[in-house]
Symmetry: C2
Subunit: 453 residues, 2 copies
């Protein structure tokens, strides 16, 4: 008997949860890229509207969701939570598995949860245009949708290899009237500099961020928007976990293990932080981030101050990083290819409140196929990492005869990613794992993270 | 303020509505292809399980949805109904517009609503394998999903031009373990015969049906499954309209005009038939089918007995048809390209209980873009036809200052159809309208429909 937990409009949360209110060790400050002194609100003002800067440093536990944002959320939220009975049966596990499903949004992923409030606050403060970067295109299409919703212009620097190989997300952005530019491009100084040095580069998120930040910094009408990593972005995503909490209550159950796939950290944080506050308060649970072996930020990166972009225009952030020069392998099929990890998640990993695992892409696709063939939903390649980690945990429960409850967030559908499944099914997909030499080269010259004052 | 009407699990209908109980003029019988006498259950037995044959001819008003089918429906149902406030505002219309959204299903369209019960009844009767046809691939992927859900094998004959130009739906079928064959193929006598005559044919649904029917007829373990047109298929889709009725009640509103896009008729019927029963009982409302000018079955086809397939293996059905030799233009971007119309819809059109309109594809895409840019959801190309018709009606209301309520079913998202949007946005899309000569040639030699006994 299918177990689905449906929230109605009235049950949608009206506040976001800010984990900065509850962290045992506060975040270390971002540093000004020039002076290397703690960055203040004025340093962020050219890039972000003041309300988002306030959220970035707020220690308030609950932040009210503005009515126009709630209103836009209602176009697809609340999202369902479903017990994966068919998957449990196929695994023969004693564990119970529940998944929250974010693929019902207009762009098919969780990204609009932050795109909508970001566009809203910018509009409120008179901004005319947003600039951003995108890799596989889930963030770019979501920001394009949000800008269109609130009447802002949108420019997206799309990592060149995706721009060329995956035209469909680009088409989606253009449907929402965004201007999409292959990155690195000749429209920015940052892009020109990279192209002069590496004319054949496939591009990277770090490079595309440099371009978008430059555009925002130079144009008074334009601000910059980031789809993950920053504190306010992660907080906007907590609507996922807050809904899931209510749904676990409907199910009369509670998770022992929570798992999220990990790129920059927003999907992981959005789902797990509302539960993590109870762990901080003493409740027993494990919280696991699952990342690709091709981009092992949390498991093999260094906790250090690093730039958010490749060129070095953003403030320095305290985070697990593979080094800002990291260019991910173009054979890696999905997103989850950013060199850094959200500072909030990095700090929580340092504090051992969360764990991290890394998996190769072929084993993840195998798990994603099992999920599609049992639960019916084809996961986005990014989400294949969470599914693989969940299956591993469920099989451990089976081996130990434990009746644990596992929860995860299925952050998006794979309807735009059929070519990756085709590659897997036809045996053409390759695995890639970062070598020690590559890691060492990327990490060279990163300054250590200073101790908190 | 977003107005969304969410049904919970307990509010999902537990019966389908069978319009055959309420039609003022009953359906004319299907005829045996050889004898031309009314076909009996035994004529359909090689193709369909007995329970579906019973549903095909039933006059019971309500048919219970079996628990395992309800259970599978719950994976994505009930689906939301949303008031299109942003679209209304963009049009400046005095009309209210509500849309039901079926794009949240595992395959992104309404098709699983009938794929699931068809797979279920076949499984119940010991069938091992289903054969079917698909055009753009929405039906094939949905039946593949349903077969996987109930543990049946699935073979899909996919119209060759789609097989070659649109690999993504094929990949989706393969994820669900279906065997996908480009049609016409050399695996069947029907396919060989067509290929001998027209070696370069792009294929058609009618040809693919001939192949699938042949496979089912020849193999005792295999049955045939059709994604539209037949009475039981349309009935399974009434879950859409039955949910919408409850949602209009929640909205404290009732539709004056209902619109559906029209290919074979199942999406149109599924949404409108539950309301149509009240029209038959005297309630005033208009019910409009919107079809492509490239395949104008209802608006320009002839009401006649015709075969459901190209070769002439199926029973003869009383329907509006463009002639079974019809091969749709390959420049037409979406589905909605079948030569015939559901007999139920054909009879209701004869009885003037429904109306039909036809539109060209470029005007439909223009309307679809307006919808995407206001409501945020990118419609499937098929659904662009319903949106265009709704906008036309809403603008008529505006001109007349009428406050009518318009309802429609958004039958699927366009995430698999970005190349069609790309063609439109880059100015490469062409319009196509069937010429009188082409129509005349196709319709030659169709027998008239005899009067009912």
């Amino acid at each position: 008997m299918t177990k689905k937990f449906i929230l109605t409009e009235n049950n949608m949360p009206d506040k976001w949860y800010n984990i900065q209110a509850d962290m045992p060790n506060p975040l270390k400050p971002a540093l000004h890229p020039g002076t290397k002194l703690p960055a203040g609100p004025e340093d962020f003002a050219p890039l972000f509207p003041m309300e988002l800067i306030k959220q970035e440093v707020s220690k308030e536990r609950w932040i009210q969701i503005p009515d126009p944002v709630r209103d836009a959320y209602l176009l697809w939220r609340p999202t369902p939570m479903i017990r994966a009975l068919a998957l449990e049966k196929a695994l023969g596990t004693t564990a119970k598995i529940y998944y929250k499903y974010e693929g019902t949004s207009p762009t098919g992923s969780h990204k609009p949860n932050t795109a909508i409030p970001q566009a809203y606050y910018n509009k409120q403060e008179g901004v005319k245009k947003l600039a951003t970067e995108t890799g596989a295109g889930q963030w770019g299409s979501s920001l394009a949708f949000a800008c269109q919703h609130f009447g802002l212009e949108c420019t997206v620097f799309m990592v060149k290899v995706s721009f060329e190989q995956k035209p469909y997300r680009k088409n989606l952005m253009e449907i929402f009237k965004a201007k999409v530019i292959a990155s690195p491009s000749t429209t920015t100084e940052a892009g020109k500099k990279i192209l002069a040095q590496f004319p054949d580069t496939p591009g990277s998120l770090g490079i595309a961020i440099s371009e978008a930040v430059e555009v925002a910094a130079k144009d008074g009408d334009t601000r910059y928007s980031l789809g993950s990593v920053l504190n306010h972005v992660l907080m906007h995503q907590t609507i996922i976990g807050l809904e899931a909490e209510k749904q676990f209550e409907m199910a009369d159950d509670y998770p022992d293990i929570l798992v999220g796939c990990f790129g920059g950290g927003s999907n992981f944080a959005g789902y797990t932080f509302p539960f993590l506050r109870h762990k901080i308060a003493g409740k027993k649970m494990r919280i696991i981030a699952s990342e690709p072996a091709a981009c092992p930020t949390l498991t093999r990166g260094k906790f250090a101050y690093d730039f958010g972009d490749t060129v070095g225009m953003t403030p320095l952030m305290p985070m697990h990083t593979l080094g800002r020069g990291f260019v991910p392998s173009s054979i890696h099929a999905g997103g989850l290819r950013y060199h850094g990890a959200a500072p909030l998640c990095s700090q929580l990993l340092q504090d051992k409140l969360i764990e991290a695992v890394a998996y190769k892409q072929k084993e993840c696709f195998e798990s994603a196929l099992l999920f599609a063939r049992t639960e019916g939903i084809v996961p986005a390649p990014e989400a294949s990492h969470v599914i693989h980690a969940v299956i591993k945990e469920a099989l451990k429960c089976k081996a130990a005869g434990e009746k644990k409850t596992i929860g995860f967030n299925l952050c998006g559908h794979g309807h735009f990613d059929m070519s990756a499944y085709d590659a897997y099914l036809s045996g053409k997909m390759q695995d890639y794992e970062m070598s020690d030499e590559e890691l060492k080269k990327n990490l060279a010259d990163l300054p250590p993270v200073p101790m908190p004052a």
